[in-house]
Symmetry: C2
Subunit: 371 residues, 2 copies
């Protein structure tokens, strides 16, 4: 397979890696956190503000976009980048996860998943072929194979059958995918918490040769310790020369722990969703800005940040806005959180280059988790 989505490794530090993924819409510096732009918008943020935080790439959701405004409409309007005015890279998920968590009624078969829209009850089919078609119509720089996200907890047999179905769908995804320069297709390792299944999944996917490898089926309720245990035996199964993406993760301390174990890419709704709910991430852990202690606090969330939302607005003002359900509250809190995540990733990239990630991680975790 030709290397259509080149991944350059610049440095390693323990198991952690510092690299650049070269996409059709610019370079993505790794380890990277991808803000989630579910419905063609990172909620409550202008696209230029997202870029200003340092984000090189955002995630779009196939399930949401296929239902509204539809992939065909977005294609006709010039593709997802043009539609949402985001000229940097986009990764789209396959729809497999959300069709199971959001759709009203769904019926899974060898062919794929037939489901009813949570919006209007209309009937739809998602299959490996249809998912590839949608992601192609959207113009995603990084397409994810269509898989089944194994529920948690799952017995060994259930996890095995689910993982094997995902492998057959991975093969069909590969066949249906239309390769282009600067664009890539990622495989997704499943197998729940079972080492033999994760190994079997990774081995089979490695042979299919994808442009990157994702780890799916985690951050679904197993807890951080169990997630890290699974990473400990799964990451070593993945190719060294391709990016590794831990899907749907996570909290800042999850990111640090996973980067230490060699993960390169992340996405999570946490910074955006928490922001809308009044939770702010700080180097000393999370705070709930609704708390009365902030009503008279003239200090900003992070005086040392270059992000205006973090540096220029008082906690007292943010407290007032969030308590008053003002949209500006959601805007500023989201902006701060996304900027915080980007700063955290920048610190980790710098530390890997300097060979000081372990020290950074210990200092960060001590302050952040107040251990």
């Amino acid at each position: 397979m030709t290397n259509r989505l080149p991944f350059t490794l610049h440095a390693t530090d323990g198991n952690a890696r510092r690299g650049t993924l070269h996409t059709a819409h610019g370079p993505v510096e790794t380890p990277v956190f991808m803000p989630v732009g579910t419905a063609a918008t990172v909620k409550a943020m202008l696209p230029e503000t997202v870029a200003q935080t340092g984000a090189d790439i955002v995630l779009g959701n196939t399930y949401h976009l296929m239902l509204r405004p539809t992939a065909e409409r977005i294609a006709k309007l010039g593709g997802l980048h043009h539609f949402m005015r985001w000229d940097k890279a986009i990764l789209t998920d396959s729809g497999g996860f959300q069709v199971m968590s959001l759709a009203k009624i769904r019926e899974i078969s060898e062919e794929g998943v037939r489901f009813q829209s949570h919006l209007d009850g209309s009937s739809h089919m998602l299959s490996p072929e249809r998912s590839m078609e949608i992601q192609h119509l959207l113009g995603s720089d990084i397409t994810m194979i269509f898989d089944e996200c194994t529920p948690f907890p799952a017995s060994h047999q259930t996890a095995r059958e689910s993982m094997e179905l995902s492998l057959r769908w991975a093969e069909r995804s590969k066949q249906a995918y239309q390769p282009r320069e600067g664009y890539g297709l990622f495989g997704i390792v499943q197998g729940s918490v079972y080492e033999d299944l994760r190994t079997a999944s990774a081995t089979a996917l490695n042979q299919m040769e994808f442009d990157g490898m994702a780890i799916g089926g985690l951050a679904v309720g197993e807890g951080q310790a169990e997630m890290l245990r699974v990473l400990d035996f799964t990451v070593p199964q993945l190719p060294d020369d391709k990016p590794r993406y831990l899907m749907g993760v996570g909290k800042p301390d999850d990111l640090v722990e996973a980067v230490l174990r060699g993960v390169d890419m992340f996405d999570c709704v946490l910074p955006t969703r928490s922001g809308r709910n009044g939770q702010a991430f700080t180097w000393q852990g999370t705070i709930n800005i609704r708390n009365a202690r902030y009503a008279d606090d003239p200090t900003p969330l992070d005086a040392g940040s270059t992000c205006p939302a973090s540096r220029d607005y008082s906690k007292a003002y943010l407290h007032h806005l969030v308590k008053s359900n003002e949209i500006l509250g959601a805007m500023l809190m989201t902006w701060h959180n996304v900027a915080f995540y980007q700063r955290l990733m920048q610190h980790m990239r710098d530390a890997i280059s300097a060979g000081t990630l372990q020290e950074f991680a210990e200092n960060f975790l001590r302050r952040y988790t107040k251990q």
Copy 2:
């Protein structure tokens, strides 16, 4: 009375005037539209974005701010400008209008209005003296006298008694107000739709010598034709050398008609509230972006605008965002509408300087109202 809030007239065109109001927080070019920042935020906009549309001044609401976060808290945090990060001018209303429209239970007396908060039922008093104190604590560049906004319709006797109460409250407001250089106090003409009452109100207020004169009690359901009829006989009663402010107005065609009649200042929630509801102002009238006709429309709301929200985002994208209840939809639609209002005012200021306001108004109204 010394001229603490200088108003310079640059040009007149018919009854219309082009001027500059020199406030402690910078010049305000008139005729001016003031976006409404009820709870210390122009809803769904960053303060720098509001300034970027060309706004020199915003309005804050005494009623909302006295209840949350309270005027005393804002004063302790450095005043309203600092609190909301708006370093240009601020006008605050007196609370008189909203205590009548929003408070749960209110009891009006010669002393003032005792009421229960719509937020938590707590008991409060608003009087001329308390309103002046609150607006002083907020640090408003322009303070409005505490008056009673006469309901519509009102009999001549009701309107007269209400207007006379407002005159007594105006006198008490003047006594309680603490004059400062660059700050001013505006009187408010009442009298419902009755020429003799408007004349009596204006005459009495003129003798008290305020820094500017407002026309209250309009845009309360009387309709545009009746409002313009009242302006026709009220505006000539106001001093030529002071700014004239038509409170709570209005639609774009209202603004044009009122500027033609010599009004200099306006405020209205319409551009912001409509934006959150999916209504966009255009030179060809308003459009509802939710309409299915926009689902595939790749054109922006106003290709000729310098406002990014108006120029850079397709109607199809705005349609999608608003239909999906995305916060970014409210952000972009509000931004566009506020920018549209500011452009309209700039066009009128330019036309007055050029002596072409009548022509501009006819062209605008023909296109806007599709007459």
